[in-house]
Structures are given as structure tokens and as C-alpha cells.
């Protein structure tokens, strides 16, 4: 099939503002959006800039706005977003500074991540073997630990767009993973962080995050669970 790939371009050394460029590409319905964007870079305009690595949805590098929705370019097949002769659009994810073309400044996103103490805390001496945990308790971390930090959720959140100091859904998902880990000993500190004015109460349950997540994490539900834990001061 033949499709048009319309990309929002920006070169910080040349352009004063973003502008659209359209490229014609021959592709197969089963191709990934990343494949056609790579094709543009490799054979049409090598200056096109974006992040990518694993190309199968596990590294979280290539989050972008495809046809107006946050997705991973490597996990979106053409057949799901465009017909023969049609057009797909690709824009940088929103709410983070655009550095060049589809590449944004990820530092604020990782700052929010780092602010929630994203690491296991338990200072009691560890046993010689593993700490025991029931399969049911382990399952409570299933969704939270599935996150790949791609930023699809946070950059689809209207609250984050308006107020960048909100830590955003991805950071709360990470916090959830530790708050609901029965082995972790810092629940209280974690709940205090979530209770700050940059924390969980900013969420207005717009559900954009849940819809955007390429790993099908029920993010809004996890945020609600964290809110309840803060309210009742227990996980």
C-alpha cells in the first residue's frame, strides 16, 4: 500500500516553530509505524530525529502522538491506523519540551520518577535466602511493575499539560508498585510523598492515561488505589 506520513518537524538550529512535512511511503499493512518512520529517515530525509531502540514495545523509547493518540511507534501496525492511500500523522508527545522533531526532553519526566523514591526499602537484615511472599501478594505488583517508563500516560494527562509540577500517572504507577509490595518497609514515607500537592490528588480521573498505556496497565485504577491508601493511611 501507499501512504502519506505527515510528521511535525522542528530543527532547533534552523526553525522558529514546528511545521508539517509529508512523505510518500510504500509499505505493508503489517508494518509498524516505526518501520515507515525509519524508512523516511534512511531513504528520504536522514535528518529526521526520534528515539527508538528495541522496536517491539519493551524499551519505551518511541512514544509519539500517532493520529492524535499517544502510542509506541513500534507497537502500532499500519493496518490499525491507516488505509491504502491514507495519511498517518506523527507528532512529539505533549507537555515536554520538543528538542528536535519527535524527540522531547525526558528529564522532567525522570525527575518526577526519581522524586517518588522508586526503589525498594527494607533495612531489616535480609534472610540468607529470599524474603517470602505469597503468589497473591506478588500479584498485587503485577500492573505496577509492568511499566516501561515510556511516558505515554503522563504526556496524555490534561492535568500534567497544565501543571508540569504534577508528578503524573507514570510516577504514581511506580509508587503503587512499592506501596503494595508487602516486603517494602517505607509505606508511610511513600504515602506522604503521594499526599503532597504535586501528588496523587491532582488526578481528576480523566482516564487518558489508561487509554494511552501501551502495556494495558489500568493506570487510573492504580491511582485510585493509591488515593485510598493515602486516605486510610495503609496499603
Amino acid at each position: 500500500m501507499n501512504i502519506n506520513v505527515k510528521i511535525l518537524r522542528f530543527d532547533p538550529e534552523k526553525d522558529r516553530k514546528q511545521h508539517w512535512e509529508t512523505y510518500q511511503v510504500e509499505a505493508s499493512p503489517g508494518d509498524r509505524v516505526l518501520d515507515v518512520i525509519n524508512h523516511v529517515k534512511w531513504y528520504i530525509d536522514p535528518s529526521l530525529t526520534f528515539r527508538r531502540s528495541c522496536a517491539h514495545g519493551i524499551c519505551g523509547s518511541d512514544a509519539m502522538l500517532i493520529n492524535g493518540r499517544n502510542r509506541l511507534a513500534c507497537k502500532t501496525l499500519l493496518q490499525d491506523v491507516v488505509k491504502d492511500g491514507g495519511t498517518i500523522t506523527a507528532e512529539p508527545i505533549r507537555g515536554l519540551k520538543v528538542e528536535k522533531d519527535l524527540l522531547v526532553d525526558m528529564e522532567p519526566f525522570f525527575d518526577a520518577y526519581r522524586s517518588i523514591m522508586p526503589y525498594f526499602i527494607n533495612d531489616n537484615p535480609a534472610p540468607a535466602a529470599e524474603r517470602l511472599q505469597s503468589p497473591e501478594d506478588a500479584e498485587r505488583m503485577d500492573h505496577g511493575s509492568n511499566c516501561i517508563l515510556c511516558a505515554c500516560c503522563t504526556t496524555s494527562c490534561p492535568i500534567f499539560w497544565v501543571n508540569g509540577s504534577y508528578i503524573g500517572p507514570a510516577a504514581i504507577v511506580q509508587a503503587h508498585r512499592f506501596i503494595f509490595d508487602t516486603r517494602d518497609a517505607a509505606t508511610q514515607q511513600r504515602l506522604n510523598v503521594m499526599n503532597q500537592n504535586t501528588g496523587v490528588w491532582r488526578c481528576r480521573t480523566a482516564y487518558n492515561c489508561t487509554e494511552a498505556c501501551p502495556r494495558d496497565i489500568p493506570i487510573t485504577q492504580l491511582i485510585e488505589e493509591v488515593k485510598r491508601a493515602v486516605m486510610y493511611q495503609q496499603a
Binding site: 530543527d11 532547533p12 538550529e13 534552523k14 503489517g30 529517515k41 534512511w42 531513504y43 536522514p46 535528518s47 530525529t49 526520534f50 528515539r51 527508538r52 531502540s53 528495541c54 522496536a55 517491539h56 514495545g57 519493551i58 524499551c59 519505551g60 523509547s61 507497537k75 501496525l77 528538542e99 528536535k100 524527540l103 525526558m106 525522570f110 526519581r114 522508586p118 526503589y119 525498594f120 527494607n122 535480609a126 540468607a128 535466602a129 529470599e130 524474603r131 517470602l132 511472599q133 505469597s134 503468589p135 501478594d137 506478588a138 505488583m141 503485577d142 511493575s145 509492568n146 516501561i148 517508563l149 508498585r177 512499592f178 509490595d181 516486603r183 517494602d184 502495556r215 494495558d216
Partner: protein, 600 residues
């Protein structure tokens, strides 16, 4: 810009993050350079688990794991490395658990374990549950957990920095030169010790499970200095990649009971490996699949795949324990493993070879075992050699944590006892020249086209089945591609985020890795592990029980000089380790694990 650290780690996957963590515990200043953001590293793509003889599900012993690793490696494994590994990986897995890694659990609350290819009880009697797993995203959990711990320890990260050169003078490494993607600036990192842990180079093949960023940068940089790459001919094709795409389908699906079937629905592995069947080591399963395809029993439009069958497994096993791969086959093939057969084909997956190191991670400079002071390597980048001629499934994650940790500890120890070595006056001169050449070339060639040709020809001529004439042809193809590479020109003039420049640099690194691999494979006139010669079909212990050391021969572009390094064996009588220089059956009889014909 100029930076100074006691220990500098290059690469932020499992090995690099483990090394950084342990170096930091050694009271030295540590920084970690990555060409990605750390959580993007390809360790995250590992699915099935990390093998360790915990015995949580069935009786197990580290000796059995050691033996399986050696036999899986077709006796090219250095046995001292295998012993350290099989013992240490048990403690290392507990340590990951203590760092909070969310492992799947047994009913008693212990770390869950499942079967995996080549892992057996009682020295090959039957498959054993040894793979410790977190659903089918174990690598993702290891990467996340180790990054989290580094955040906790306050490790300094330089993200999206591309290393262009190692600074080595008079047998001592004093740092690296790196290109900062966001500014185009060249940085020099002055360090007492440098640890290389930047992963493999699967992108030299057309069908691969590897990330687009796995281009062998640091192996190539090492090789360009006239230093050796060990056992480059041994490259693992994972049996099960999603057809056409090469995306990894975990061996855990066979560990959980998945069955490979040809077009007739036959469970063909019963013919090739009567005891372990679908759970034979990867080299054997991949060759069996290709044999089925060659003999006309493949599936799919091009008859170039076989099916993996999970339809007899309970839905909750597939959706819960194998959720990642269920998602991948639904997303990319529109197939649901609960009710559909999923077509797979072997995919280029893992380099057994790489930068030669000692069991303490120290880099080796020549056939005599001379060390480069202050330089360490770990993970897929390194060749310890734990994996010999073929790596067992799960042993890559085990390798990362065991030898990442060892190199971190040893680098910190070395750094504590030494001063910064003097740097040459303009250490970045060659790196600047590398970039200038790419910006000023005549531009008659396109990097992407050369890369595509490299990937297709390597797949055809140096893939699963190899022979002399095809590889000789590939040697000439590589010379031609190298000559054409000189004409590649970077058109994007920008300083900031010049990803075109980066891709062009990476192509140069890939050409080196392909060259070292092809020459090493052409030179080894036997079949062993993942290296299968149609013209030399058997293993030849008398002549080839030795490691290959490939050196760039600067007399002419594209030339390679081959040297050798002995294999380490354990003596059965005194338990001491000895380097095997010449093989005789009498001497081999005295080994604890002597080379034997490999049946499964």
C-alpha cells in the same frame, strides 16, 4: 568537556548497572555512560528467567548447573568460569530478591522456577526447574530493579552519550572519549578504571531479536586498537523469533510445555533430541528447525517457519505466566496463542564471543593473557568464556549479575589502590577525525543501503549453516562494503541530536564485528555448538578445542589475523584448573567434565 571519576562504566544494561552498583559500594566515585536512557537497555527484552540451582521446585545442585553450562557450550566453556558462575548465581539471585525484584512465587512464597532448555538434573537425566522468573518479563524486572538501586545509591549517569574511543597507552586504560548526542560536544572521561558493558551486535543480521542500537560499538573500538575479540564465530540463533520480525518468543513457552510442530503437525524435536525434545539447547533446536524448513516441512507463505503450539496449555498459564509473549503475538501477528499456532523462525540473538576477560573481568590483550591495566568488561560484550560455543537459555541474565558484580568489585579495588594515569595530550583527536570524515566524505553512498546489504549477506553467508565458499564470498563482500562505507556522508549538518551521524558511526562498528566474525568462522574448520560447518560436519577436539582470538591486521583493510587461547578444564583428581594446550584422549580422561559427544 573533561570529567574525572574513579570508576567509569560504559553501558547501563544489567551488567553495567550491576557493575556500577558494586563499584559504588567499594567507596569510589562512579559514573555510568549510556547511549540510551538506562531503562531502554536491551536487558529489558529478556523474558524467560535467570537460571540458579535454588532447588525451590525440584532438587538441584550447582554442580549440575555447572555441567549443563559446559555441555551446553560444547566443551568450549572455561570450566573455572562455569564453577564460579554456578555457585555465585544462587547468591546473586537472592540478592536481586533482596533489592525488591518482584519474582513470581511458589505456593510457599519462594522464588518460582521453571524448566528451560539444556538445564537438567543429575548430569543430563531429565529437565529440571532451574529458571527463576518474574512472569515472562524477567529481564525487564532485573533492569528496572538495578536502575532503581542505582537511583538509590545516587550513581551519576551520562545518558545519550556515545563512546567513540578508549584511551589506552602503555598497557593501561585511562578513560574514554564520548560524543554527547544533545549538543554534539566531545567529552573526555578520565578514570582510574573503565568497565565495558555495552552489549552485543545482533543488528549485523537481517532477522534478529536485538534492538536497533545493538551495533557492537565497544567491541569494534577494542578491535580497532589491535586488541583481540574472542570466539566471534559463536553466535547464537534463538530458535523462536516471531516469523519475519525476529522478535523474541521466550524459551519459557517451551519450559511451560509448548511444543514445536512442522507443517504435518509432527513434534519433530523427538527425532533430534529424544530425551529433552523441545527443551534441548538452542543451537540444536535452531538447526533442527532449519533442517525441517530445508526439507520442505516448513509453514507460512514462504514455508520458512515452523509453529509453536501452546493450545493444549490452560488459558491462565498462557495469559498469566506468558503474558508478554501473548501480547506480542496478538499485536504483531494477530494470533492468539490460546487457540492459534504461532509461526516462528530462528532469530539472531546473542554473541557468545566478545572482549576476552579473566574471571575477574580484566580485559585480555593478547594470546599470552597479558592484561590491560584498569580495563574491565562484562555481560554480552565480554567473553569470559562462560558460554563456550553455545549459551544456555537464562545464563545471559546470570552472566550479567555474576560477572557484572565481579568486574564492579574488582574495578573499585583497583581504583582504590592507584592514581589517575596520565592522559595523552589530545585524547579526542581520533574521535574528531572519525566524525569529520563522515561529514566530509563525497556522499556517493547511503549508510542505510550498506547496512541492509550487510544484514542480508551476513544472514545468508554466515548464518546458522555455514560453509567455506559462502564465507569466502562474504569476506570479499565485507571488503567491498568497507570500501563503500568510506563514501558515506552525513547530510544533517546540525550539532544537536544528530542521529544520522550516530547511525553512520554505528555502521562502521558493525562492519568490524561482521569482519571479525566471518574470518573467525572461516578459520574454524569444525562444527561446534552454534558454529555449524556443512563442509566440516563434526566436532574436532584434537585440533579445535581452543578459543579463537581475532585481531585486526592493519597491513591491508579487511584483513584479520587469528590467534588462539587455551580452554580451561577442571582436573578430576585434585580439582585444580588447567589450561589445555594440546588435546589427547589420555589427558582428557583425567578431567572432571571431559569433552564427550553431545546428545540430549
Amino acid at each position: 568537556m573533561h570529567h574525572r571519576y574513579d570508576v567509569l562504566v560504559v553501558g547501563a544494561g544489567g551488567a553495567g548497572l550491576m557493575a556500577a552498583l558494586y563499584a559504588a559500594k567499594g567507596n569510589v566515585s562512579v559514573a555510568c555512560i549510556s547511549k540510551l536512557y538506562p531503562t531502554r537497555s536491551h536487558t529489558g527484552a529478556a523474558q524467560g528467567g535467570v537460571g540458579a540451582a535454588l532447588g525451590n521446585v525440584a532438587e538441584d545442585h550447582w554442580e549440575w548447573h555447572m555441567y549443563d553450562t559446559i555441555k551446553g557450550g560444547d566443551y568450549l566453556t572455561d570450566q573455572d568460569a562455569a564453577e564460579i558462575f554456578a555457585k555465585d548465581v544462587i547468591e546473586a539471585v537472592y540478592e536481586l530478591e533482596h533489592m525488591g525484584l518482584p519474582f513470581s512465587r511458589t505456593e510457599e512464597g519462594k522464588i518460582a522456577q521453571r524448566k528451560f532448555g539444556g538445564h537438567t538434573r543429575e548430569f543430563g537425566k531429565a529437565a529440571v526447574e532451574r529458571s527463576c522468573y518474574a512472569k515472562d518479563r524477567t529481564g525487564h524486572m532485573i533492569l528496572q530493579t538495578l536502575y532503581q538501586q542505582n537511583v538509590k545509591e545516587g550513581t551519576t549517569f551520562f545518558n545519550e552519550f556515545h563512546v567513540l574511543d578508549l584511551i589506552i597507552e602503555n598497557g593501561r586504560c585511562s578513560g574514554v572519549v564520548a560524543y554527547e548526542l544533545s549538543t554534539g560536544e566531545i567529552h573526555t572521561f578520565h578514570a582510574k578504571a573503565v568497565i565495558l558493558a555495552a552489549g552485543g551486535y545482533g543488528r549485523i543480521f537481517k532477522i534478529t531479536s536485538n534492538a536497533l542500537t545493538l551495533t557492537g560499538d565497544l567491541m569494534s573500538i577494542y578491535y580497532r586498537k589491535g586488541l583481540p575479540l574472542e570466539d566471534m564465530e559463536f553466535y547464537q540463533f534463538h530458535p523462536t523469533g516471531l516469523t519475519k520480525l525476529g522478535i523474541l518468543v521466550t524459551e519459557g513457552i517451551r519450559g511451560e510445555g509448548g511444543i514445536l510442530r512442522n507443517k504435518d503437525g509432527e513434534r519433530f524435536m523427538e527425532r533430534y533430541a529424544p530425551t529433552l525434545k523441545d527443551l534441548a539447547p538452542r543451537d540444536i533446536v535452531s538447526r533442527s528447525i532449519y533442517t525441517e524448513i530445508r526439507e520442505g516441512r516448513g509453514v507460512g507463505p514462504d514455508k520458512d517457519a515452523v509453529n509453536i503450539d501452546l493450545t493444549h496449555l490452560p488459558r491462565d498459564v498462557i495469559e498469566n505466566k506468558l503474558s508478554e509473549i501473548t501480547d506480542l503475538s496478538r499485536t504483531y501477528l494477530g494470533l492468539d496463542p490460546v487457540k492459534d499456532l504461532v509461526p516462528i523462525q530462528p532469530t539472531a540473538h546473542y554473541a557468545m564471543g566478545g572482549i576476552p576477560t579473566t574471571i575477574d573481568g580484566e580485559c585480555i590483550a593478547d594470546d599470552n593473557g597479558t592484561l590491560i591495566e584498569g580495563l574491565y568488561a562484562a555481560g554480552e560484550q565480554a567473553c569470559v568464556s562462560l558460554h563456550g560455543a553455545n549459551r544456555l537459555g537464562t545464563n545471559s541474565l546470570g552472566d550479567l549479575i555474576v560477572f557484572g558484580r565481579r568486574s564492579g568489585i574488582n574495578a573499585a579495588k583497583y581504583a582504590r589502590g592507584t592514581e589517575l594515569a596520565e592522559m595523552p595530550e589530545n585524547p579526542e583527536v581520533e574521535s574528531r577525525a572519525l566524525i569529520e570524515n563522515l561529514k566530509n566524505a563525497d556522499g556517493s553512498e547511503n549508510a542505510a543501503r550498506i547496512r541492509k546489504e550487510l544484514q542480508e549477506t551476513m544472514m545468508n553467508n554466515v548464518g546458522i549453516f555455514r560453509n567455506g565458499p559462502d564465507m569466502e564470498k562474504q569476506v570479499e563482500i565485507l571488503r567491498e562494503l568497507r570500501a563503500r562505507y568510506q563514501h558515506v556522508n552525513v547530510q544533517d549538518p546540525s550539532q544537536r541530536f544528530n542521529s544520522e551521524l550516530v547511525e553512520a558511526l554505528e555502521l562502521g562498528f558493525m562492519l568490524d564485528c561482521a569482519e571479525a566474525m566471518t574470518h573467525s568462522a572461516l578459520n574454524r574448520t569444525e562444527s561446534r555448538g552454534a558454529h555449524d560447518r556443512e563442509d566440516f560436519h563434526t566436532r574436532d577436539d584434537v585440533n579445535w578445542l581452543k578459543h579463537t582470538m581475532a585481531y585486526k591486521d592493519f597491513s591491508q583493510p579487511g584483513n584479520v589475523r587469528i590467534g588462539y587461547k587455551p580452554v580451561v578444564f577442571k582436573d578430576a583428581a585434585d580439582g585444580e584448573y588447567e589450561s589445555l594446550t594440546t588435546y589427547t584422549p589420555a589427558e582428557a580422561a583425567g578431567f572432571k567434565f571431559p569433552p564427550k559427544p553431545r546428545t540430549f
